[in-house]
């Protein structure tokens, strides 16, 4: 596996641990209340944001470098 893949998995592995761990902690302690509209909305945006960053890094780490131009 090349260093491009290692970097990607390291970022979303260690970073993902922090991200998911914080969500689980917040849910467990009642800081994230999924019974409320606000709680559901915040969770939706957080997950959407994380997915957007994964897509961004996948695109700019693996797809664009191989592209020579339009």
């Amino acid at each position: 596996m090349g260093t491009e893949w290692t970097s990607f998995f390291y970022l979303y592995g260690v970073g993902g641990f922090v991200f998911v761990g914080s969500l689980i902690l917040a849910r467990k302690r009642g800081a994230l209340d999924l019974e409320t509209r606000d709680g559901r909305k915040v969770l939706r945006y957080l997950i959407l944001g994380y997915a957007a960053y994964i897509a961004f890094h996948a695109l700019t780490q693996f797809v664009l470098p191989a592209w020579g131009g339009p």
Partner: protein
């Protein structure tokens, strides 16, 4: 124009811009009547204003000069530092913002005081002041480099002094309201400027395909090598910036705490950080790196010489790709962006000095006016201290080297102490003391004996030159070493404290680690909250003359519209949305009286909030 890279038109644009921004900032001094207004802008602003103001501060701290230099050397990898913060957002939005907002915590030392008492607070304050003062120094140094690139005949230190004096004037005069409003203008200008340079550069290169095709393959990876070789290409930036500095910036930096507290509600602060991280940060990443990427492509096709100076590449590309007038505007935006960070930091340090040192300990019980004037004196002193650090940072090879080495060394104890306090209820005073004393000691040891970092270095090759001081070895991976060592001493210290010295795990009052949102809201409101809140209506109001309370009298028709009951917290705001909450006030429902009619608002609230009698207001139930 002698000694100036641009034309007379550019210089005129820069001068006009700065006179305009000075007048603009000073105008908002009228909204500063107390220390609460000076530091927190009266907790009144809408999320979008807080978000844009926040990105101006973020971008200012990393600057066009520094990231264009990095993008010129390492390509797309220079965007990493702006795109690796998302992992912290759940803890920030769901944990930290509700804690500081609902507990009405004005500074991080105050947080530690409430949780662990004065000893931990004092230690944390000392480290925090060092961190923030160092940041002011780095920003002033970067400002000096920027002005020097623009006007090579002006040396870095005199340039930094000139800009420090200018920045000091409007922060000192206006406080947080000035900072937020000027940041808004500067952020917009700065982002537009960065994007214009990109498209102008693409035009010079002949199109997007030519630009991308001209970039060397190594420059096309977003997680590529940054600041030297290592076995995992981005590892140094991940630990120094993603883990240590991002946490420090969002959670520890007093400037950001002030931003969150300036929001009209915790929900608005959450919205601001999510919008900032998801949308504004990626845009800002490209705005600051574009010139470096375009510059690298220009070198490849022969438009720029091979030996182009990386630290001046932003100014060089801007000058080449734009025209007179626009170049001046972009340079004004560049300097303004750097000033945004400096002004926020100065205001933040001043806030800590007043609220954590002078008010509780050294000169308690004085009038608010006295503390307000003292805060203004501090702004001047902080600028002077920051300027004294400029020659120290000038000793590093690049701006990012100075920034990276500084943050990797100073942030680990600050980050770990706060992180454990937020997430772990069992983290006690002994653990906090262990991190702040033993952790700091162990990080200091690594400055003199950097070999201790090697086991944590993930295979990073230290490129130290013969004769270099020891602290230049593993400057980035010191963050990894520091974080892991501090985590260990914190956990062990807390365990020993609880077991051997019977240290209490968690104070009986207040919710100072991640906990129930409803409990926090309940204690903030002093009653049962409606967690969905958010109902609003537009209405006319009448003034209750001579009334200085915060209780409004609500007609039944309005109360049923916004589902308000006596004791509920309301936000009253001028109905012009574009003001972003500048004219607004917080109130409590005192009584529900009469079927219909206007809302009755105490005179004190109308004056403090700057509400205009003839205009309808937007009434929102917060909880």
């Amino acid at each position: 124009m002698h000694g100036f890279l641009g034309t007379t038109v550019d210089l005129t644009v820069i001068v006009v811009y700065f006179i305009g921004i000075l007048a603009f900032g000073s105008y908002f001094a009228r909204y500063t009547k107390s220390t609460t207004d000076f530091f927190f802008a009266g907790r009144r602003f809408a999320w979008w204003l807080v978000a844009v103001s926040g990105v101006a501060t973020t971008v200012g701290s990393y600057s066009f000069i520094k990231y264009s230099e990095a993008a010129f050397k390492y390509g797309l990898a220079a965007t990493q530092t702006y795109t690796n913060d998302w992992m912290w957002m759940p803890l920030l939005a769901l944990g930290w913002i509700p804690i500081i907002y609902y507990n009405q915590i004005r500074s991080i030392p105050e947080y530690f005081d409430r949780r662990y008492g004065t000893t931990v607070r004092s230690l944390y304050t000392a480290l925090l002041m060092l961190y923030l003062l160092g940041y002011v120094g780095i920003n002033l140094y970067t400002l000096g480099v920027a002005v020097n690139a623009l006007m090579p005949s002006v040396e870095i230190l005199p340039a930094a002094i000139a800009v420090a004096v200018f920045t000091g004037i409007y922060v000192t005069a206006g406080g947080q309201a000035s900072v937020i409003m000027t940041d808004l203008v500067q952020a917009i200008l700065m982002l537009i400027g960065g994007i214009i340079i990109f498209f102008a550069g693409i035009y010079h290169l002949g199109g997007i395909g030519e630009f991308w095709g001209a970039l060397p393959p190594d420059s096309r990876h977003s997680l590529g090598e940054f600041a030297g070789k290592s076995s995992i290409s981005f590892i140094k930036i991940f630990w120094q910036d993603g883990i240590a500095n991002s946490f420090a910036f969002w959670f520890v930096n007093q400037g950001m705490v002030l931003r969150f507290l300036a929001a009209k509600s915790a929900r608005e602060a959450q919205k601001a950080v999510l919008f900032n991280s998801l949308f504004l940060m990626p845009v800002a990443a490209f705005a600051v790196c574009n010139a470096g990427l375009v510059g690298r492509a220009m070198v490849a096709v022969g438009i720029l010489p091979e030996n182009s100076d990386a630290s001046r590449i932003f100014v060089t590309v801007s000058h080449m790709a734009t025209f007179p007038g626009l170049f001046g505007l972009i340079m004004a935006a560049l300097i303004a962006a750097l000033m945004s960070t400096a002004d926020t930091l100065v205001n933040g340090i001043s806030s800590i000095a007043i609220n954590d040192i002078w008010r509780p300990y050294l000169l308690p019980g004085r009038t608010d006016r006295f503390y307000l004037n003292l805060a203004r004196v501090h702004c001047v002193g902080i600028m002077a201290f920051g300027l004294a650090l400029v020659p120290v940072f000038a000793g590093f090879a690049t701006i990012y080297d100075a920034h990276g080495a500084f943050t990797a060394a100073i942030t680990p104890p600050l980050v770990v102490a706060l992180f454990l306090a937020i997430v772990w209820r069992g983290f006690n005073r002994a653990g906090a003391l262990a991190v702040l004393l033993l952790g700091t000691f162990l990080v200091t040891i690594s400055l003199f004996h950097p070999e201790v970092i090697r086991p944590f270095a993930h295979g990073v090759i230290s490129e130290i030159k013969p004769g270099d001081p020891a602290y230049k070895m593993f400057p980035y991976m010191r963050a990894c070493y520091g974080i892991l060592v501090c985590l260990t001493v914190g956990i062990v210290g807390s365990w020993i404290g609880g077991w051997r010295f019977n240290e209490p795990a968690y104070p009986a009052t207040g919710s100072l680690s991640v906990g129930s949102l409803l409990d926090l809201m309940r204690s903030f409101k002093n009653g049962e909250p409606d967690p969905d809140g958010g109902k609003e209506a537009i209405t006319q109001f009448e003034i209750l003359p001579g009334d200085a309370s915060d209780e409004v009298i609500v007609p039944e028709s309005l109360a049923s519209q916004i589902h308000a009951r006596p004791g509920d917290l309301l936000y009253l705001c001028d109905c012009r949305a574009w003001l972003g909450g500048l004219k607004s006030a917080h109130a409590r429902v005192g009584e529900i009286r009469g079927e219909s009619g206007p809302l009755l608002v105490p005179e004190g609230l109308v004056v403090d909030g700057g509400l205009v009698r003839e205009r309808p207001i937007r009434v929102e139930k917060l909880m």
